[in-house]
Amino acid sequence: MSTRIHVTVNGVEYSHFVEPRLLLVNYLRDVLRLTGTHVGCDTSSCGACTIHVNGKATKCCTMLAVQADGCQITTIEGLSHNGELHPLQEGFNECHGLQCGFCTPGMIMTAADLLQHTPQPTEQDIRHALEGNFCRCTGYHNIVKSVQYAAKKISEAAVVH
């Protein structure tokens, strides 16, 4: 038994028949072959699978693909535009905010949500926002700095414009 869903992922419209039990993360990874979104656990704890669903950071390892019917989805692959990195992507490179890179897409997507509603976060705001995303490599220190870098860059760009 399959159900038809329509979703827009990174600006592209898709329509597929999916099994009702198919997880959204597996739809993205296995059906659309967007493998930047990762699975690190099965309990919505680690945050490696964080994407944006209708603009909100969402852990898609515990969301069904059928629940995403009609939704606008952004994954890490859709974050940069016209070859220009998002300030968070740039920040993670500038501040050494990643090592093995496995948690990085989820981290960036969570931080992107934070900066949408809190453009000038304090260090504690950032740490609190990221507490649902595990990183085993960096000790979080440089991830916090990466988000601070992006926040500064975005606010400076806003002043210029």
Partner: protein
């Protein structure tokens, strides 16, 4: 040493782009043509005899291709251990192999009983649930000290007392006892270094395929050392020809030791891929990772440190029970012995040391190297003892350390330091890191603040840890004499292309360490070319001739040194080519900043022109082969010995026992630094793993052998909001025996940090009059509160 200044610079990582844009290529991202998927039937029990396996219903399930059980693998070997340790009496350790699928009985919860292969992941999982296994549960044992007692259940029926081996190192026990008896003060600790779950965020994943035409296998594996996996799997487990097996470790999402080892699933999937003639993939679920990925630590220890009246350490006596779990994982046997006992000299001049280790099987997940591997256990032991001794003798813990430090030595003018426990330290300036740490923390000020806090009814503590580790693993002859069944050299091929671009093939493997940047910095610096003109290739047995992989903070010290050897050969040959072109003697050619120049003249040609000449050898020395491409193997002369000083400042809530980390200072000396940004990142990550052990993490088994916190809902992982920003600094004491002068930075943070935290909490409690000797890690609010009220 540098010719264009790239060495020592905080160059941004070249590998980042694929990760920050979602284009990393991890094993689970790979889907092969005609892909199939595996799921396992695993034991629910920690110890149970298999009475019957009924696969008939499962075989009829949709999409099922094959189901295999232990009976199908009767002719296949189990996975062996890579390091032989002998009993005190000389007998070889007991080393039952780990079967790919157990046929007789399960020895830990999660032991694999059957594998189901199907068209989709979901179909494989459904069918695995339909396999009916009848089992008889047996009594089990989870605690190492209990496992050796008479009458304890036997994990392996043919291993008496569950003892894999017993082992001793250091001075004769009589000498140590005599020194201890004469000591003016003896500090004693009975403690547990608890079991940890490594928790790389990428779960282990394998995808294996077989091509019947070429008779070749390809295994994609989330491994830290693909060549070693190939060797173990081909030669010892499956008995298949090594040259017909390609092993690839693509991007790997963190290892921390847990991805060093050869796991049963790697060999089993490879065996299955030939049986069914299609690629087979399996990616561990997190709940499986908790039960299967080799755990770390798990020591039960009694340690005594004796002091004379002036606070000089006169003796150290240690007895440890090391829990190795149900089977000997690849390097399990060397962790509590040669990576633990050998580090018990620490930074101190202790004249008499004896360490006695009993390694034990239990019905738990196998235990092996986890970030630091033995050295965190040694450091925790020493640093807890010396801080506690300072409290007991009413001395300042920094002062007590200064009294006992080995004096500075550079390993060149002054010889290396011979310890009582087999090693010879290469170079060190231990006072230096503690002095710097004291300056950074403003020691007098924080002690004053602590007194003021105590006056106001608050508990503030300052904890130290001055550590040393042995890394740059390892000189092959030395480790061979200690039982290692492999050499621990590294290989590197540096291939200069005709246009002067350079490809480097390294046997090291990066799973977050940034080799693609650090190694490129070395090559670009030494050859005087742009960073962009260097490509680092790793992780593919087809591309890289051989490799021993990445663990034990060895990549730069051993793998980087192998690259240096090849660079030297390239420059030497380049000089001959340049000499011919410039009509000079090769002895008169010097190479600097990318140019070969006749000494004392302005006659010179560039590196690119020499490269082109090597491949278009029209005007060329008669006795020289074309090409500019050299492979090297580097076997280190000694381990390297990074060291450092970590200081924690904590506040303990009197009402709840909750520990708040206020400051963390880390001064690390890892020798010369190629990329300070990457080194600092390694320290940060390591520090958090150590603090994770001190405050949050710990595997908890119940009496039935069930891991009761086997999920992220239950196992407390360190999170972003648990930490302040860290204060780090480095001191540089070069390694005297490798060409880069580097020591290694991967494990330092983890080794140093845990005891600093625990010492700080104990110090906070003493400041409030609670004379607590020990609190078992992790220091949860409940445990700290109990320690306070019980003291």
């Amino acid at each position: 040493m540098s010719t264009n200044g790239l060495i020592g610079r905080a160059v941004k990582r070249v590998e980042d782009k694929r990760f920050i844009t979602g284009h990393g290529n991890y094993t689970d991202d790979i889907v092969l043509p005609h892909q199939t998927y595996a799921a396992f039937v695993r034991s629910q029990y920690a110890h149970a005899r298999i009475l019957n396996i009924d696969t008939s219903a499962a075989k009829e399930m949709p999409g099922v291709i094959a189901i295999f059980t232990g009976a199908d693998l009767a002719a296949v070997n189990g996975v062996p251990c890579g390091w032989q340790v002998n009993f005190k009496n000389g007998d070889t350790m007991k080393e039952p192999k780990h079967p790919l699928l157990v046929a007789d009985k399960a020895r830990h919860a999660g032991d694999a009983i059957a594998v189901v292969i199907a068209e989709t992941k979901e179909q494989a999982t459904d069918a695995a649930e339909a396999v009916k296994v009848e089992m008889e549960e047996l009594p089990c044992v989870v605690d190492a000290a209990k496992a050796v007692q008479a009458g304890a259940p036997l994990v392996h029926d043919d291993v008496p007392n569950n003892k894999s081996f017993d082992w001793v190192l250091g001075n004769p026990i009589e000498e140590v006892n005599e020194a201890m008896d004469k000591a003016a003060h003896v500090t004693t600790l009975d403690f547990v270094n608890q079991r940890l779950v490594p928790n790389a965020i990428e779960p282990r994943s394998y995808n294996s395929s077989y091509d019947p035409v070429s008779e070749k296998y390809t295994l994609y594996t989330s491994s830290q050392n693909p060549h070693l996996i190939r060797l173990l799997m081909c030669a010892f487990v499956l008995g298949i020809p090594e040259h017909k097996v390609r092993v690839v470790s693509p991007d790997v999402g963190g290892g921390f030791g847990s991805k060093i080892f050869h796991y049963t699933e790697e060999a089993l999937l490879t065996w299955c891929s030939k049986k069914i003639g299609r690629p087979v993939k399996w990616t561990s679920e997190r709940s499986e990772s908790f039960l299967l990925d080799a755990h770390g630590r798990d020591h039960v220890t009694k340690a005594e440190m004796g002091f004379d009246a002036n606070g000089k350490i006169v003796a150290l006596r240690v007895k440890t029970y090391a829990n190795l779990g149900a089977y000997l994982s690849t390097f399990s046997s060397c962790v509590p012995t040669y990576l633990h006992g050998t580090l018990l000299q620490g930074l101190y001049t202790t004249p008499k040391i004896n360490v006695d280790v009993t390694a034990v099987f239990t019905n738990t997940t196998p235990v092996d190297a986890y970030r630091g591997a033995g050295r965190p256990e040694a450091t925790y032991l020493l640093e807890r003892l010396i801080d506690l001794a300072a409290h007991e003798m009413d001395m300042d813990p920094a002062e007590l350390r200064f009294r006992n430090f080995i004096p500075p030595f550079d390993g060149v003018q002054q010889p290396g330091y011979q310890t009582q426990v087999a090693l010879q330290y290469d170079s060190g300036n231990y006072e230096g890191v503690l002095k710097k740490g004291l300056e950074m923390v403003n020691y007098a000020d924080v002690r004053r603040e602590q007194q003021e806090a105590a006056h106001n009814g608050k508990l503030v503590g300052i904890g130290f840890s001055t550590y040393i580790e042995a890394c740059g693993i390892a000189p092959s002859a030395i480790v061979g004499s200690l039982g290692c069944r492999a050499g621990l050299f590294e290989s590197a091929q540096v291939r200069v292309q005709p246009t002067g671009k350079v490809s480097v093939y390294t046997g090291s493997h990066s799973h977050g360490q940034g080799h693609e940047t650090t190694f490129a910095q070395i090559v670009a610096d030494k050859l005087g070319i742009n960073l962009d003109d260097v490509e680092i290739v790793h992780g593919d047995s087809e591309a890289v001739a051989f490799g021993m992989g990445t663990y034990g903070s060895r990549s730069l010290a051993v793998g980087g040194s192998a690259i240096m050897k090849s660079i030297d050969k390239i420059i030497e040959k380049g000089k001959k080519i340049a000499a011919h072109k410039l009509e000079a003697s090769a002895d008169d050619i010097e190479f600097k900043s990318g140019n070969f120049t006749v000494k004392g003249t302005d006659k010179s040609i560039g590196f690119g022109e020499v490269a082109l000449t090597a491949y278009v050898p029209h005007v060329y020395p008669k006795d020289l082969e074309p090409g500019l491409d050299f492979a090297s193997f580097y076997d280190p002369a000694n381990f390297t010995y990074p060291f450092g000083c970590h200081i924690a400042v904590v506040e303990v809530d009197k009402e709840t026992g909750k520990v708040s980390l206020k400051r963390f200072i880390a001064v690390d000396d890892v020798g010369n630094v190629i990329n300070p940004m990457i080194v600092e990142g390694q320290i940060h990550g390591g520090v958090v793993q150590g603090i994770g052990q001190a405050l949050f993490e710990g595997a908890e088994y119940d009496d039935n052998g069930q891991l009761t916190n086997a999920s992220y809902m239950d196992y407390c992982m360190p999170r972003a909001d648990d930490f302040p920003m860290f204060e780090t600094a480095s001191q540089v004491t070069p390694c005297p025996h490798n060409p880069l002068g580097v020591k290694g930075a991967g494990e330092a943070g983890t080794i140093g940090s845990a005891p600093a935290i625990v010492n700080a909490v104990i110090d906070a409690l003493w400041s409030g009059g609670h004379k607590v000797k020990d609190i078992r890690m992790p220091l949860t609010p409940e445990r700290v509160w109990h320690a306070m009220v019980d003291a």
